[in-house]
């Protein structure tokens, strides 16, 4: 509880600072600002919160998530984030961290995950998921991304993600490639990673989930993607749907060997 209040106070202070930093509007000042924040990333508070949620019995079955198998065996958290998304035998699906967490909540805890899927970002249901992902990502910090495409369903997910990246539609004819398909481009002053090359995908994939200084919120990759789809003028992707897992698979596999800097901190 105490932790939560601390978070909110911290966020308020930082948001005021962010507004000031933006009026300076030079790339350099944003970069310096990020550096200054690196010493104390508020994401650490969400990490601690996530660990607590992971270990606390919950749901109709009143059990914790400690026996959840994230791909390295039941209960292994360290290094799990680095190899996700991956194919899971029990579900016969390729799953990212959030999709896998839903499976564990449903199977271990007996939770009705439909409510979590439907809840909007920023709701308590989604905040809990984001804290869990933050905790899991922190347990792979400094490890290299090691995503496998050995299983045919993993390769298919990658191929679908690559195809989705170029899928253009909507009133603005935007695709991911419009904004992330070239190197060195910006929207206003925001640098856009080129997600079609290892370097750009590496920088992007290894820095999410991230604490967003401008909003004081902890965003998962699912949230990041949903907001890019909003900017793309698309309808909203279903939480943990195949489109989102496929795009993550595309980015993560392109980012293989890059060092995870999770959880991250962003504008």
């Amino acid at each position: 509880m105490k932790r939560h209040h601390l978070c909110i106070a911290f966020a308020a202070v930082i948001s005021a600072g962010a507004a000031r930093a933006e009026t300076d509007s030079s790339l350099q000042s944003i970069e310096q600002y990020r550096e200054a924040l690196r010493d104390g990333n508020p994401a650490e508070l969400f990490e601690a919160q996530g660990e607590e949620i992971w270990k606390t019995p919950a749901g109709p079955k009143n059990v914790s998530l400690e026996q959840c198998d994230l791909g390295l065996g039941a209960g292994v958290v360290k290094g799990a984030f680095a190899q996700l998304p991956r194919w899971f035998k029990d579900t016969d699906r390729v799953q990212d961290t959030e999709s896998r967490l839903l499976t564990c909540k449903e199977k271990l805890q007996g939770v009705d995950i439909k409510a979590i899927i439907k809840a909007p970002f920023g709701s308590p249901e989604k905040d809990e998921m984001n804290a869990l992902v933050t905790y899991i990502s922190g347990a792979s910090k400094d490890m290299p991304v090691k995503v496998s495409l050995a299983h045919p369903k993993e390769q298919a997910m990658f191929n679908l993600g690559r195809r989705m990246f170029y899928f253009e539609a909507g009133p603005h004819d935007f695709s991911c490639a419009t904004c992330h398909g070239q190197s060195g481009a910006r929207i206003r002053l925001q640098e856009l990673p080129d997600l079609t090359i290892g370097k750009g995908a590496g920088v992007a994939w290894t820095s999410w989930p991230a604490y967003r200084v401008s909003s004081g919120q902890m965003w998962s990759m699912q949230w990041r993607l949903a907001d890019c789809f909003r900017q793309q003028r698309f309808p909203e992707p279903n939480y943990t749907s195949d489109v989102t897992v496929a795009l993550s698979m595309f980015m993560a596999a392109m980012a293989n060997d890059a060092k995870l800097d999770t959880p991250g901190i962003k504008r």
């Binding site: 909507g170 009133p171 698309f234 489109v243």
Partner: protein
Amino acid sequence: MKTFFILPLLLAATPALAESGPKTDWGQGADDAAFAAMIKSSFHDKGIATLARLDQDSTQAFCSDPARATGASKEAVEAREKIEAENLATIKWPADNTWLGDWKKGEAVAQSGRGLTSSDKADGVRGGNCYNCHQISKQEIAYGTIGPSLWNYGKIKGDAPETLRYTWGKIYNSKAYNACSNMPRGGHMGILSEDQIRDLMALLLHPQSPVNQ
């Protein structure tokens, strides 16, 4: 007898193939059917951003394949020329032959990136997103670089009728001049009104606009 039945079928299929040009092989598990099924199961309506937006027009379908959008083969080049001609035919030229509006209003349209997202209202103001991709006036330093700089656009290009026509056409339907341009088709897709396009024209071309100082 047999050929009689097969021939019409072949004829029907040929123009479609010629139109589409080369095709990317997306690899195992990502053929047209699998891809369509994924899209169908992965989105929901949100506000004004409904599922109907996922239905592509022929230009969008064409440009979603990099082999066609950027391929260097003769078929790819010819296919893009066809797409450009189709888009050129959609352009509505200013009815009263008035090309330039108010550059001050144009600056506001160019600044705004609002409109048509799932969090916008149907009757909300729509901006042109221009500064998101272009440098335009020197005063605005927070500009994007997906498109070329338009600083001094009118000073460099002049005000000949062809320039007026090209600039109007580019804003109305960018894909008339570059089949798979990253720039939105402002007029054709109903993002911008004719008056907003006039104001943007003035921003780029009026001698008194800050763009041309």
